[in-house]
Every structure is written in C-alpha cells, then in structure tokens.
C-alpha cells in the first residue's frame, strides 16, 4: 500500500527522488507531505496518519519520542548538513570568518539573512555558530530572520540582503548566490535530520525507512549536498 511520509520542506527534492527509486523497486507508493517541522510534529501529536517522519528538528523529534508516538528503535539520524555563508553574487570573494570584523564589514549597512534564530533549526544552529565565533554580538542587530531557510535564501537571491546563512544544500540549488564561507562544523551542534517510523505504520513503511537509510538512497542524498552521518550517532 501507500506510505505517507511527513517531511520537512527543505528535503523536498532529494526525498522525492529517493522515494521514486523505492517505489519503482517495491511497487508501493510513497506519498510525501511537506511542511515545517513544528507543524508536522503537532499534526502527529494530533493523530495524523503519517507512517514516517523525516524532521529537520531534533527537539520536536524528542517531544514525539517522549510522547511515545515513535515505534521503538526506529529513530535514526538519516541526514546531516552543514551551514554556509552566501552572498548575492555567485562570484563573490571568499570571506574569512575568523577575522573579527570581516563579516560586519562585508555587511556594511546591509542585512544578514537567517532563519528565525530562536525558533527554526537553521537559525538556531547559525546563531550558535556565530556565538562560538564571537561574531554574534556585532552582527545581531543586522540579522533579518525569515520564517524558514528557503525564505532567507530568497532574500539573498533577490539581492535584498547581501549575505545570508543557510544550509549547504540550499546554497547548491540556487544559482543566483555564491558560497563565501563554510561554517566550521564544530562551532555548532551537529545538524541532523532524524527519521522515525510511527507506531501505527504498516510493513511497507519500515521497508521504506530501511531503504532510505541504505546505500542507494545515500547516493541520492549526497548528490543533493546532504551528508550521511555515521550510524549510531543518535
């Protein structure tokens, strides 16, 4: 039968491709419902008929796990990602994040586009990284927070903000922006996309979960810029 996958919006294309591959193989269909991680989590709390959840937000996954909504032992960190600083010009000069003034100087009176720094994962990680780098206090007043990473990306792509902090995967997909710096992974908690099978899910769901964690799907995710975390890192 069909498998209903609830997935964070930011994994749309990669997940679709992987699911298509699985459908061809298994003859089952995967239906993907995309929304923000918090929305998905709340819907599952309210009894949504999801079979699988691929979230971009570990906190919400923790909540669902605590509520006993996840099938025991099925939670894995399926994907990992990294943060980059982008500029609205594909050929922009690289930026040295270790120099204390470089970011602020490059911004000038422009804005640094990020996802919501206290609510949305990409924003939370970005803020953590800037704090670790000792840059947060100087740029905080210049941060423009979008409701999700894609919106932050759009602000930079449209030339509205000179710089932005987004996932590496987002930066790859948008030709109007260029990566000017990669944020060191050790400046923020690891960026993980947890996957879990829901309690009421049928057999095909577990099968899809296994497929997504397998090598073939891994290739597809890598092709879209995601990283595959070492297993057992939950």
């Amino acid at each position: 039968g069909d498998v209903l996958v609830f997935a964070a919006s930011s994994v749309k294309e990669a997940l679709e491709e992987a699911c298509d591959a699985w459908s061809e193989r298994s003859g089952n269909r995967a239906v993907i419902s995309l929304a923000g991680s918090s929305t998905l989590a709340r819907q599952i709390q309210a009894g949504a008929p999801a079979d699988l959840l691929l979230s971009a937000n570990e906190n919400w996954m923790n909540v669902l796990e605590a509520d006993g909504l996840l099938r025991e032992g099925t939670r894995t960190d399926l994907l990992a990602n990294s943060l980059v600083v982008i500029a609205g010009d594909p050929a922009a000069d690289p930026l040295d994040l270790l120099s204390p003034d470089a970011l602020a100087t490059r911004l000038g009176d422009g804005r640094l586009a990020m996802a919501l720094v206290d609510a949305v994962p990409a924003g939370i990680y970005g803020k953590a990284a800037l704090e670790t780098l000792g840059l947060w206090n100087s740029v905080a007043p210049r941060v423009a927070q979008a409701d999700n990473v894609r919106a932050a990306l759009a602000l930079v792509a449209a030339g509205e903000a000179p710089l932005g902090i987004v996932y590496a995967t987002d930066a790859r997909a948008e030709p109007r922006v260029g990566v000017v710096a990669t944020i060191p992974a050790d400046t923020h908690p690891p960026i993980r996309y947890p996957l879990a099978v829901m309690n009421d899910a049928g057999a095909p769901a577990a099968e899809l979960a296994r497929f997504l964690a397998g090598a073939e799907a891994g290739e597809i995710f890598r092709a879209h810029g995601f990283e595959i975390p070492a297993q057992g890192a939950q």
Binding site: K12, E13, V31, S33, A35, R42, Q43, G47, A157, A173
Partner: protein
C-alpha cells in the same frame, strides 16, 4: 494540456476547486443566517457573535489552523465526537481542508451579506408584512431577493479566499498530495525548491485565472440583476 505541470499539480488544482466549492456552498446558509442576525437581531451576545465570526480574520492563519487541529483533530473534543458519532472525519482529509477554507472565508462572506441586508429599506419589509407575509416569508420573498447581489458577491469573495487559503489549511490537514494538497500548498512546496519558481508561477497563474473568472462572472451577474430591476 499540461502547461508544463505535473499530474500532482493538476490534482492540486482540482482539489482546490472541490474544496472551495463545498466550503462555500455548505457555509452559505449559515453565512446568510449569521448576517441576518447581525444586521437585524437585537439580542445579548450580538457583539460576541460578531467577534467570533471575525476571529479567523484577526488571527494569524497558522493559529487558526492550530486551533482547528486542537478542536477538530482526531483527538480534539469536537473532532473525536463527530468521528465517533457520525463517522465524519476532518483530520487530514479533504473535508478538513474545506472546513478550514470555510472558516477562513466566513467573515468575508458574512460581511458582504450583512452590508446588503442593512441596505434593504425596512419600509419594504413592513409593506410585505401588511400584505400578510410572516417574518419568515418576508425574509424569503423580499429581503433575500433584494440581497441576492450581496450574497453573490459574498459567495464569490469567499470562493476566491478559499482558493487562496494556505496557512490554516496546511496547519490543520497538512499537505498530502491528492488528498489535502491544495493549490496554495502545492505553490508552497514548489517555493521550497530553488529554481522551481517556474512551476510555482504557473500554478499561481492558474489560481488567479480561476478566481478572476469567478469575480468577473459575479460582477456581470450582479449588474444584470440590477439592470433588470432598474427599468422595463
């Protein structure tokens, strides 16, 4: 004719039409009744009712969706009752999208109708009463027909709003292709992919064309009614 859109996208168009149609059709009687109460009623709690009707307009749509989820969700008070008693389920079903659209469009519908009712000359209703029409029949034979252009306008406005509703819908019934993925949800999904703006724009154009056609048709109908009344 695919206009470069996937079957999924076309399914979203079809679903949005279905959702908006039923949302508007089923909420219309309630909308007319509420508008009449607000326009002509003198009862305690009128202001409360008025406020309640406007609530979806005031709240950020996400909040409305969230409240719907809490109320009409499978574990919500009303939702559980309806499901257990009548087998009616809204959660994650297209009917839920219709409910969300209806609630979001309701204030607009009621506003339009109410203004038209207030513009009806009470002298005409009095005249009908002296000719033997009970309050109900006065409403049916005088008030309602005079308000028809307003009802038409309100209905189409509500339809247009329902076609564009996104926040409450995605929060309440999620974004399941073929089941709850309406046109705006599909647009949202496309917007999540850099470079898919083309598809998003094509969908938006379709939605605009549909809503505009409805608007223009309703304007034309309203003028026709007015003209018919105006002379000969």
């Amino acid at each position: 004719m695919t206009l470069g859109l996937s079957a999924e996208a076309w399914a979203a168009v079809g679903l949005s039409l279905k959702v908006s149609f039923w949302a508007v059709l089923l909420s219309l009687p309630l909308g007319i009744a509420t508008a009449y109460l607000l326009a002509r009623g003198r009862f305690p709690g009128r202001q409360l009712l008025n406020g309640l009707v406007h609530l979806p307009l005031i709240l950020p749509p996400v909040v409305t969706g969230y409240l719907l989820l809490l109320t009409f969700g499978r574990r919500g008070v009303v939702g559980a009752f309806l499901y257990d008693t009548f087998g009616i389920g809204f959660a994650f079903h297209w009917t839920g999208a219709a409910l969300a659209a209806a609630i979001m469009a309701f204030p607009l519908m009621v506003r339009s109708i109410r203004l038209s009712i207030e513009a009806v000359d009470p002298g005409l209703e009095q005249a009908a009463a002296t000719l033997g029409a009970s309050r109900l029949r006065v409403f049916g034979t005088v008030t309602l027909p005079l308000v028809l252009p307003g009802i038409l306008a309100g209905t189409i406005l509500a339809f247009a709003k329902a076609m564009g509703e996104f926040g409450a819908t995605i929060t309440f019934v999620s974004n399941i292709p073929g089941q709850t993925q309406t046109l705006p949800s599909a647009v949202y999904a496309f917007l999540q992919v850099p470079g898919a703006e083309g598809s998003a724009i094509r969908l938006v154009v379709i939605s605009v064309v549909i809503a505009m056609s409805a608007l223009v048709a309703s304007e034309w109908l309203a003028r026709r009614m007015a003209r018919q009344r105006g002379a000969t």
